[in-house]
């Protein structure tokens, strides 16, 4: 594994935006907006923790 794995996840946002720009998803704009919100939150979380001390307690089990 290399450090690019996190960026691979973030890269999904790029492919989605390209699809969106092509017009394929214009029929359901609100859903696209919600998906983009999710992606933006994930990218934001990543960026906010860049350079910060690793804190394992932040990585919680999901129910």
């Amino acid at each position: 594994m290399n450090p690019n794995l996190a960026f691979e996840i973030a890269n999904l946002a790029v492919s989605l935006a390209k699809t969106q720009a092509s017009g394929k998803l214009q029929q359901d704009a609100s859903l696209v907006g919600i998906l983009l919100q999710i992606i933006e939150k994930a990218v934001q979380a990543y960026q906010e923790h860049t350079g910060e001390t690793l804190d394992p307690s932040l990585i919680k089990a999901e129910q």
């Binding site: 594994m1 973030a10 946002a13 983009l36 933006e40 934001q44 690793l54």
Partner: protein, 131 residues
């Protein structure tokens, strides 16, 4: 219509930002202080992104803003996340116990496999949503 244009702009803004940041980030990846090694740090980032995706998607689902099919994909994503998290914790414990650079390849391979599955689960979740 205005909402869509706004969303489209924000999406494109994210894409442009990522396109600008990704080459620099991959070339100059900053390992988190306190991380045992680069693997530990990158796994932490991937899990953080996945966890935020899950939490945010769950909120949207509860608000009725996602299609019913998203629930199944989200469940798969949650399972993949929890498995990857366990593998990461096991890897960390092993690396802390032994030398961080001499950790058993078994733990490393398991972590790599589980994080790869997690990435696939995120991708599938997004595919379901964008169908």
């Amino acid at each position: 219509m205005m909402d869509f244009i706004s969303h489209q702009r924000s999406g494109i803004a994210v894409a442009i930002l990522l396109l600008l940041l990704l080459p620099a980030c991959s070339a100059h990846y900053r390992i988190h202080p306190g991380a045992l090694n680069a693997t530990d740090s990158a796994a932490y980032d991937a899990l953080l992104i996945a966890q935020t995706t899950i939490d945010q998607a769950r909120l949207q689902l509860q608000a009725g803003q996602l299609p019913a099919e998203a629930k199944t994909a989200l469940d798969v994503l949650v399972r993949s996340y929890n498995v990857a998290r366990e593998a990461w914790l096991t890897y960390r414990a092993s690396a802390a116990r032994d030398n961080a650079n001499l950790t058993s390849p078994v733990y490393f391979d398991q972590l790599t496999k589980n994080l790869s599955n997690l990435t696939d689960a995120i991708r599938k979740f997004q595919e379901v949503m964008s169908k």
